[in-house]
């Protein structure tokens, strides 16, 4: 039967739409023209300027520290949560499940606003710690969902087999469950890491003096036209690392 070509056309049109702005950005990062309206020759100069912009690298360092520590914490909390959600059926898990899913649909601005209210009312100074808390909170649900998906494929009779062969419960979890679950936990961690690096809105609400993360830095750079071409260069580097990350996590998932 003849298939309509329209869905295929729309699909590729949308993919073009998704990539076009990013491609223009990458191309312009090598463009000598300031606004990138026309091609005025190849240059590395924006990358050189970026390399010399110490405040950007400082922000990157802050962002990486937060992202690594927040995703580690979210991996531990999320894995425990997923295990509990999968293993038990009770009113407690119903409440638990609702609490885990709500942050997924809560708009960022509300999460940022409510955490800010908490910190203001309890007198906690905003800074690295408050950003870390906020990031763990929004990453937790995503990690739980990824690990939960993995657990649904896990064959729990393997645990019973290990116990029948004389392993203690702890040994069975450590030697059988965790190694098989690890790709899922790592994939969840990678997702948390990307989300943490990316977050602007929530971080904006709970950041303090001296804690300008990379997205906050980009936002302030966007306000001065002098640094616009530098953002192109920075974006290109970030997009390249996103590609790398996506490749890494899809390999992780395939191996599982």
């Amino acid at each position: 039967m003849k298939r309509s070509w329209l869905p295929a056309l729309i699909t590729w049109g949308v993919i073009l739409f998704l990539f076009a702005p990013l491609v223009v950005l990458v191309v312009n990062s090598f463009n000598a023209s300031r606004f990138g309206g026309e091609w005025e020759g190849f240059t590395w100069s924006w990358y050189e300027k970026l390399w010399a912009a110490e405040e950007v690298w400082e922000s990157l360092w802050i962002t990486l520290r937060i992202a690594v520590s927040a995703s580690l914490a979210a991996m531990v909390l999320g894995t425990l949560a997923a295990y509990a959600l999968h293993r038990f059926r009770s009113w407690l898990q119903n409440v638990h499940h609702m609490l885990i899913t709500l942050p997924l649909v809560m708009p960022d601005i509300l999460m940022g606003m409510s955490l800010l209210a908490l910190f203001v009312l309890t007198g906690v100074e905003t800074g690295l710690l408050t950003i870390w808390i906020a990031h763990v909170t929004f990453c937790l649900s995503f990690v739980t969902m990824v690990v939960l998906g993995r657990l649904q494929d896990f064959d729990f009779t393997l645990l019973d087999a290990a116990r029948d062969l004389g392993a203690t419960q702890a040994a069975a979890v450590k030697k059988v469950l965790l190694p098989l679950l690890l790709p899922g936990v790592l994939a969840g961690g990678l997702l948390a890491f990307t989300l943490s690096i990316d977050d602007y809105v929530i971080t904006f609400f709970v950041s303090g003096p001296g804690t300008t993360t990379l997205p906050l830095r980009v936002a302030s750079m966007m306000k001065t036209s002098r640094s616009l071409p530098m953002i192109n260069a920075l974006s290109t580097l970030l997009i390249a690392s996103t590609f790398l990350f996506a490749a890494l996590s899809s390999r992780l998932q395939r191996r599982a």
Binding site: I10, Y83, H96, P107, V120, D198, S235
Partner: protein
Amino acid sequence: MTEEPAQPSRQWLLTLPSLVWLAVFFVIPAILVIVTAFRPADLQGGVGAGWTLATLREVQDPAYLPILWRTIWVSGLTTLVCLALALPMAFQMARVGERMRQVLLLLIVIPFLSNFLIRIFAWKSLLHPEGPLTKLLIGLHLIPENAVLLNHAGTVLLVLVYTQLPFAILPLYAAAEKFDFGLLDAARDLGAGPWRAFSKVFVPGVRRGIISAAVMVFVCCLGQYVIPQMVGGTSDEMLGSKIAQRVFSDRNLPHASALAGGLMLAVLVPMLVVVIWQRLSRKEAA
């Protein structure tokens, strides 16, 4: 399966860490926002002592009505455009071969994973008066010489659709993957045209996916403020813009809280409706 005798305590032990974390850093803060709306503001940007209904009266300012209205229709329109594009995409993705499907998924997810601000910045520079798209369109005489592509309602809509599309495509694709395409062939065999088969068989078949995609996109749009602030004009503010202004410019936390409380209701009500509707239809099916 082995169920340990000491199961209840083990359950609590495994559940408590995430439960306590979310209670302290998600539930209590949300309640605090509601409570703060009934407290007076102090001049240092904090919250004063005592209780007041004054903030609630302030929030009923008719000046908020157009903003509320705009927030709702911009979010609604974005949802419709996203669905209109995502439905045929999900349809296509579910029909191609396994390898192609993986490629398409990756192509959709990669821009989605790129930094949110950078994607907005990319549009900002693309649509800049000196930017490539403006020059191209003027060169082709498709727009007048002095046309401005940035800073109006259309730009906000465009960038909202751009950032929200994956939220529509992914749940719709998950639904389309489970759809039995034999039904579609049957409809075609019985003489339905491709459009009729698509709209009368495929669309109803993935309606659960449509609902979750629509709620996802709509709710995400309701809380937006960065996009209207960065690519919109002064008349394109949404509810989120006002919340951010009250927090950062006026430093009036109670006022911001009252607005945020309203937004919270606007988010929770459509979700609640969908959850109840899905429960009911599941019962009907069973």
